[in-house]
Protein backbone atom coordinates (compact mmCIF):
# COMPACT_ATOMS: atom_id res chain seq x y z
CA UNK A 1 0.00 0.00 0.00
CA UNK A 2 2.69 2.46 0.96
CA UNK A 3 4.66 1.48 -2.09
CA UNK A 4 1.64 2.18 -4.27
CA UNK A 5 1.17 5.60 -2.63
CA UNK A 6 4.82 6.39 -3.13
CA UNK A 7 4.73 5.29 -6.77
CA UNK A 8 1.66 7.37 -7.57
CA UNK A 9 3.06 10.43 -5.79
CA UNK A 10 6.43 10.05 -7.46
CA UNK A 11 4.75 9.91 -10.84
CA UNK A 12 2.73 13.04 -10.04
CA UNK A 13 5.78 14.87 -8.74
CA UNK A 14 7.98 14.05 -11.71
CA UNK A 15 5.18 14.70 -14.17
CA UNK A 16 4.50 18.07 -12.58
CA UNK A 17 8.17 18.98 -12.60
CA UNK A 18 8.41 18.07 -16.27
CA UNK A 19 5.30 20.14 -16.88
CA UNK A 20 6.91 23.16 -15.25
CA UNK A 21 9.95 23.08 -17.48
CA UNK A 22 8.28 22.18 -20.77
CA UNK A 23 5.02 24.15 -20.52
CA UNK A 24 5.09 27.01 -22.98
CA UNK A 25 2.33 28.86 -21.20
CA UNK A 26 3.26 30.25 -17.75
CA UNK A 27 -0.18 29.47 -16.34
CA UNK A 28 0.21 25.82 -17.27
CA UNK A 29 3.61 25.79 -15.64
CA UNK A 30 2.13 27.19 -12.44
CA UNK A 31 -0.59 24.54 -12.41
CA UNK A 32 1.98 21.81 -12.96
CA UNK A 33 3.86 23.25 -10.01
CA UNK A 34 0.71 22.80 -7.91
CA UNK A 35 0.62 19.12 -8.88
CA UNK A 36 4.24 18.71 -7.81
CA UNK A 37 3.63 20.46 -4.51
CA UNK A 38 0.62 18.32 -3.72
CA UNK A 39 2.57 15.17 -4.51
CA UNK A 40 5.34 16.26 -2.17
CA UNK A 41 2.77 17.06 0.52
CA UNK A 42 1.47 13.50 0.33
CA UNK A 43 5.03 12.22 0.50
CA UNK A 44 5.49 14.29 3.66
CA UNK A 45 2.46 12.49 5.07
CA UNK A 46 4.01 9.12 4.32
CA UNK A 47 7.12 10.33 6.14
CA UNK A 48 5.09 11.13 9.29
CA UNK A 49 5.43 14.88 8.82
CA UNK A 50 1.78 15.83 9.08
CA UNK A 51 2.43 19.40 10.08
CA UNK A 52 4.72 20.02 7.13
CA UNK A 53 2.23 18.43 4.76
CA UNK A 54 -0.43 20.87 5.88
CA UNK A 55 1.96 23.81 5.72
CA UNK A 56 3.12 22.73 2.29
CA UNK A 57 -0.43 22.83 0.95
CA UNK A 58 -1.34 26.08 2.69
CA UNK A 59 1.84 28.06 2.06
CA UNK A 60 3.02 26.70 -1.26
CA UNK A 61 -0.13 25.73 -3.09
CA UNK A 62 -2.26 28.29 -1.33
CA UNK A 63 -0.05 31.33 -1.20
CA UNK A 64 3.02 31.07 -3.38
CA UNK A 65 1.41 29.63 -6.48
CA UNK A 66 -1.49 32.03 -6.17
CA UNK A 67 1.07 34.82 -6.01
CA UNK A 68 2.64 33.47 -9.19
CA UNK A 69 -0.71 33.32 -10.94
CA UNK A 70 -1.55 36.79 -9.71
CA UNK A 71 1.66 38.22 -11.15
CA UNK A 72 1.13 36.35 -14.41
CA UNK A 73 -2.32 37.83 -14.77
CA UNK A 74 -1.27 41.26 -13.55
CA UNK A 75 1.58 41.61 -15.98
CA UNK A 76 -0.18 40.01 -18.88
CA UNK A 77 2.86 37.89 -19.56
CA UNK A 78 0.62 34.90 -20.11
CA UNK A 79 1.61 34.62 -23.71
CA UNK A 80 3.41 31.70 -25.16
CA UNK A 81 7.16 31.84 -24.92
CA UNK A 82 9.09 31.22 -28.07
CA UNK A 83 11.25 28.25 -27.24
CA UNK A 84 12.93 28.16 -30.62
CA UNK A 85 15.25 31.11 -30.27
CA UNK A 86 18.42 30.38 -28.40
CA UNK A 87 20.26 33.56 -27.57
CA UNK A 88 23.21 31.88 -25.97
CA UNK A 89 24.78 29.47 -28.40
CA UNK A 90 25.01 25.94 -27.07
CA UNK A 91 23.34 26.78 -23.80
CA UNK A 92 20.66 24.11 -24.03
CA UNK A 93 22.96 21.14 -24.71
CA UNK A 94 25.22 22.41 -21.96
CA UNK A 95 22.26 22.70 -19.59
CA UNK A 96 21.10 19.21 -20.49
CA UNK A 97 24.56 17.82 -19.88
CA UNK A 98 24.81 19.63 -16.58
CA UNK A 99 21.37 18.35 -15.57
CA UNK A 100 22.36 14.78 -16.35
CA UNK A 101 25.57 15.26 -14.37
CA UNK A 102 23.65 16.63 -11.39
CA UNK A 103 21.16 13.79 -11.63
CA UNK A 104 23.84 11.10 -11.76
CA UNK A 105 25.82 12.62 -8.90
CA UNK A 106 22.75 13.10 -6.72
CA UNK A 107 21.56 9.58 -7.43
CA UNK A 108 24.96 8.23 -6.50
CA UNK A 109 24.84 10.14 -3.23
CA UNK A 110 21.30 8.97 -2.63
CA UNK A 111 22.29 5.37 -3.15
CA UNK A 112 25.34 5.80 -0.94
CA UNK A 113 23.40 7.53 1.82
CA UNK A 114 20.40 5.28 1.71
CA UNK A 115 22.24 2.08 0.90
CA UNK A 116 20.05 -0.73 2.02
CA UNK A 117 17.36 1.80 2.60
CA UNK A 118 15.68 0.92 -0.64
CA UNK A 119 14.22 -2.24 0.74
CA UNK A 120 12.32 -1.36 3.84
CA UNK A 121 12.74 -1.22 7.58
CA UNK A 122 15.82 -3.40 7.72
CA UNK A 123 18.71 -1.08 7.08
CA UNK A 124 21.91 -2.91 6.36
CA UNK A 125 24.31 -0.10 7.06
CA UNK A 126 26.82 -0.08 9.82
CA UNK A 127 24.91 2.30 12.01
CA UNK A 128 21.89 1.17 13.96
CA UNK A 129 18.76 1.16 11.88
CA UNK A 130 16.70 3.37 14.09
CA UNK A 131 18.21 5.24 16.94
CA UNK A 132 16.16 4.58 20.00
CA UNK A 133 13.57 7.34 20.05
CA UNK A 134 14.69 9.87 22.54
CA UNK A 135 11.23 11.32 22.78
CA UNK A 136 8.89 10.72 25.63
CA UNK A 137 5.91 8.84 24.30
CA UNK A 138 3.43 11.36 25.65
CA UNK A 139 4.90 14.83 25.62
CA UNK A 140 7.03 14.36 22.57
CA UNK A 141 9.97 16.12 24.11
CA UNK A 142 13.38 14.61 24.69
CA UNK A 143 13.49 12.60 27.88
CA UNK A 144 16.49 14.50 29.16
CA UNK A 145 14.55 17.74 29.12
CA UNK A 146 11.27 16.46 30.34
CA UNK A 147 11.06 18.59 33.44
CA UNK A 148 10.44 21.72 31.45
CA UNK A 149 7.41 20.28 29.72
CA UNK A 150 5.55 19.17 32.78
CA UNK A 151 2.64 21.41 31.97
CA UNK A 152 1.56 19.26 29.03
CA UNK A 153 -1.47 17.16 29.81
CA UNK A 154 -0.52 13.56 29.38
CA UNK A 155 -3.81 11.91 30.09
CA UNK A 156 -5.22 12.23 26.60
CA UNK A 157 -5.73 9.11 24.53
CA UNK A 158 -3.60 10.39 21.67
CA UNK A 159 0.06 9.49 21.53
CA UNK A 160 2.70 12.04 20.52
CA UNK A 161 1.52 14.35 17.84
CA UNK A 162 3.86 15.57 15.20
CA UNK A 163 2.75 19.15 15.69
CA UNK A 164 3.55 19.03 19.37
CA UNK A 165 7.06 17.76 18.70
CA UNK A 166 7.77 20.33 16.01
CA UNK A 167 6.36 23.09 18.17
CA UNK A 168 8.51 22.05 21.07
CA UNK A 169 11.66 22.31 18.99
CA UNK A 170 10.66 25.53 17.25
CA UNK A 171 9.93 27.29 20.49
CA UNK A 172 12.92 26.05 22.45
CA UNK A 173 16.09 25.22 20.57
CA UNK A 174 15.22 27.09 17.41
CA UNK A 175 13.45 30.05 18.93
CA UNK A 176 16.17 32.47 17.84
CA UNK A 177 15.87 31.30 14.24
CA UNK A 178 12.12 31.52 14.56
CA UNK A 179 12.31 35.16 15.64
CA UNK A 180 14.69 35.88 12.78
CA UNK A 181 12.25 34.43 10.26
CA UNK A 182 9.67 36.85 11.56
CA UNK A 183 12.09 39.70 10.97
CA UNK A 184 12.89 38.28 7.52
CA UNK A 185 9.23 38.18 6.53
CA UNK A 186 8.72 41.76 7.70
CA UNK A 187 11.70 42.95 5.69
CA UNK A 188 10.50 41.00 2.67
CA UNK A 189 7.04 42.49 2.81
CA UNK A 190 8.33 46.03 3.17
CA UNK A 191 10.84 45.48 0.38
CA UNK A 192 8.20 44.05 -1.92
CA UNK A 193 5.90 47.00 -1.34
CA UNK A 194 8.68 49.48 -2.03
CA UNK A 195 9.87 47.63 -5.13
CA UNK A 196 6.50 47.05 -6.70
CA UNK A 197 4.66 50.24 -5.95
CA UNK A 198 3.95 52.62 -8.76
CA UNK A 199 6.38 55.45 -8.44
CA UNK A 200 4.92 58.67 -9.69
CA UNK A 201 7.86 60.31 -11.40
CA UNK A 202 10.41 57.86 -12.66
CA UNK A 203 8.11 55.50 -14.43
CA UNK A 204 9.12 56.64 -17.87
CA UNK A 205 5.66 56.60 -19.34
CA UNK A 206 4.18 59.52 -17.49
CA UNK A 207 7.37 61.35 -16.79
CA UNK A 208 6.33 64.43 -18.70
CA UNK A 209 2.86 64.73 -17.27
CA UNK A 210 3.69 64.27 -13.61
CA UNK A 211 6.15 66.57 -11.94
CA UNK A 212 8.97 64.99 -10.02
CA UNK A 213 7.92 64.09 -6.52
CA UNK A 214 9.88 65.27 -3.58
CA UNK A 215 12.96 63.10 -3.09
CA UNK A 216 11.86 62.17 0.39
CA UNK A 217 8.71 60.60 -0.98
CA UNK A 218 10.67 58.04 -2.97
CA UNK A 219 11.96 55.08 -1.02
Amino acid sequence: MEIAVFAVCAAIVIGGALGVIVARHPVHAALSLVATLFGIAVLFLTLDAQFLAAVQVIVYAGAIVVLFLFVIMLLGVDRVENLRTEPLGGQRPLAAGLGVAVLVLALLFAIAAGSGGFGGDEVATGRPAAVAPEFDSCTGVPKALEGSAAAIDCDGPEPISNIRQVAWWVFTDYVWAFQLTGLLLTVAVVGAVILARQRGGDDGSDEESVPDPAPEAVG
Binding site: E2, F6, V13, I14, A17, V20, A23, P26, A29, A30, I40, L43, F44, T46, L47, A49, L52, Q56, I64, L67, V71, I72, L75, G76, V77, E81, P87, Q91, R92, A95, A96, L98, G99, V102, L103, A106, F109, A110, G114, S115, G116, G117, F118, G119, G120, A130, V131, W169, V170, Y174, T181, L185, A188, V189, G191, A192, V193, L195, A196, D203
Partner: protein, 100 residues
Protein backbone atom coordinates in the same frame (compact mmCIF):
# COMPACT_ATOMS: atom_id res chain seq x y z
CA UNK B 1 7.57 1.23 4.49
CA UNK B 2 9.34 2.74 1.52
CA UNK B 3 13.06 3.06 2.06
CA UNK B 4 14.80 6.36 2.46
CA UNK B 5 16.83 5.78 -0.67
CA UNK B 6 13.75 5.99 -2.85
CA UNK B 7 12.85 9.37 -1.43
CA UNK B 8 16.39 10.60 -2.00
CA UNK B 9 16.33 9.32 -5.56
CA UNK B 10 13.03 11.07 -6.26
CA UNK B 11 14.40 14.27 -4.75
CA UNK B 12 17.48 13.97 -6.96
CA UNK B 13 15.31 13.69 -10.05
CA UNK B 14 13.20 16.70 -9.07
CA UNK B 15 16.30 18.75 -8.26
CA UNK B 16 17.87 17.92 -11.61
CA UNK B 17 14.66 18.83 -13.44
CA UNK B 18 14.53 22.14 -11.60
CA UNK B 19 18.17 22.88 -12.38
CA UNK B 20 17.70 22.14 -16.08
CA UNK B 21 14.58 24.27 -16.19
CA UNK B 22 16.36 27.14 -14.50
CA UNK B 23 19.11 27.01 -17.10
CA UNK B 24 16.92 26.49 -20.15
CA UNK B 25 13.91 28.72 -19.64
CA UNK B 26 14.07 32.45 -20.10
CA UNK B 27 10.80 33.60 -18.59
CA UNK B 28 11.70 34.93 -15.14
CA UNK B 29 8.50 33.60 -13.61
CA UNK B 30 9.18 30.07 -14.79
CA UNK B 31 12.75 30.35 -13.57
CA UNK B 32 11.33 31.16 -10.13
CA UNK B 33 9.11 28.10 -10.34
CA UNK B 34 12.15 25.99 -11.10
CA UNK B 35 13.86 27.39 -8.01
CA UNK B 36 10.80 26.31 -6.04
CA UNK B 37 11.15 22.82 -7.49
CA UNK B 38 14.75 22.63 -6.32
CA UNK B 39 13.81 23.87 -2.85
CA UNK B 40 11.09 21.25 -2.63
CA UNK B 41 13.49 18.51 -3.62
CA UNK B 42 15.80 19.55 -0.81
CA UNK B 43 12.87 19.69 1.60
CA UNK B 44 12.04 16.12 0.69
CA UNK B 45 15.58 14.98 1.49
CA UNK B 46 15.44 16.83 4.82
CA UNK B 47 12.28 15.03 5.88
CA UNK B 48 13.46 11.67 4.57
CA UNK B 49 16.74 11.91 6.46
CA UNK B 50 14.86 13.16 9.50
CA UNK B 51 12.79 10.00 9.52
CA UNK B 52 15.83 7.84 8.85
CA UNK B 53 17.73 9.30 11.78
CA UNK B 54 14.62 9.81 13.97
CA UNK B 55 15.64 13.42 14.36
CA UNK B 56 12.99 16.09 14.24
CA UNK B 57 15.56 18.71 13.25
CA UNK B 58 14.92 17.80 9.63
CA UNK B 59 11.30 18.84 9.83
CA UNK B 60 12.15 22.03 11.69
CA UNK B 61 14.68 22.90 8.99
CA UNK B 62 12.03 22.40 6.32
CA UNK B 63 9.78 24.76 8.24
CA UNK B 64 12.42 27.48 8.03
CA UNK B 65 13.15 26.71 4.38
CA UNK B 66 9.45 27.24 3.68
CA UNK B 67 9.56 30.68 5.28
CA UNK B 68 12.69 31.66 3.38
CA UNK B 69 11.15 30.41 0.13
CA UNK B 70 8.06 32.51 0.72
CA UNK B 71 10.17 35.61 1.37
CA UNK B 72 12.28 34.91 -1.69
CA UNK B 73 9.24 34.59 -3.92
CA UNK B 74 7.72 37.80 -2.59
CA UNK B 75 10.85 39.86 -3.22
CA UNK B 76 11.60 38.16 -6.52
CA UNK B 77 8.14 38.69 -7.92
CA UNK B 78 8.23 42.32 -6.82
CA UNK B 79 11.45 42.76 -8.79
CA UNK B 80 9.86 41.04 -11.79
CA UNK B 81 6.85 43.35 -11.56
CA UNK B 82 9.13 46.38 -11.37
CA UNK B 83 11.11 45.25 -14.41
CA UNK B 84 8.07 44.28 -16.45
CA UNK B 85 6.56 47.65 -15.81
CA UNK B 86 9.46 49.36 -17.51
CA UNK B 87 9.89 46.83 -20.26
CA UNK B 88 6.92 44.69 -21.07
CA UNK B 89 7.60 41.10 -22.00
CA UNK B 90 11.15 41.13 -20.75
CA UNK B 91 12.97 37.83 -20.57
CA UNK B 92 16.00 36.96 -18.51
CA UNK B 93 18.23 38.01 -21.40
CA UNK B 94 16.82 41.52 -21.39
CA UNK B 95 17.73 42.01 -17.75
CA UNK B 96 21.43 41.64 -18.36
CA UNK B 97 22.19 45.16 -17.18
CA UNK B 98 21.83 45.71 -13.46
CA UNK B 99 20.69 49.26 -13.85
CA UNK B 100 17.41 51.02 -13.38
Amino acid sequence: MVGTGWYLALAAVVFALGAVGLLVRRNPLIMFMCVELMLNAVNLTFVAFGRDLTDLGGQVSVFFVLVVAAAEVVVGLAIVVAIMRRQSGATADDISVLRG
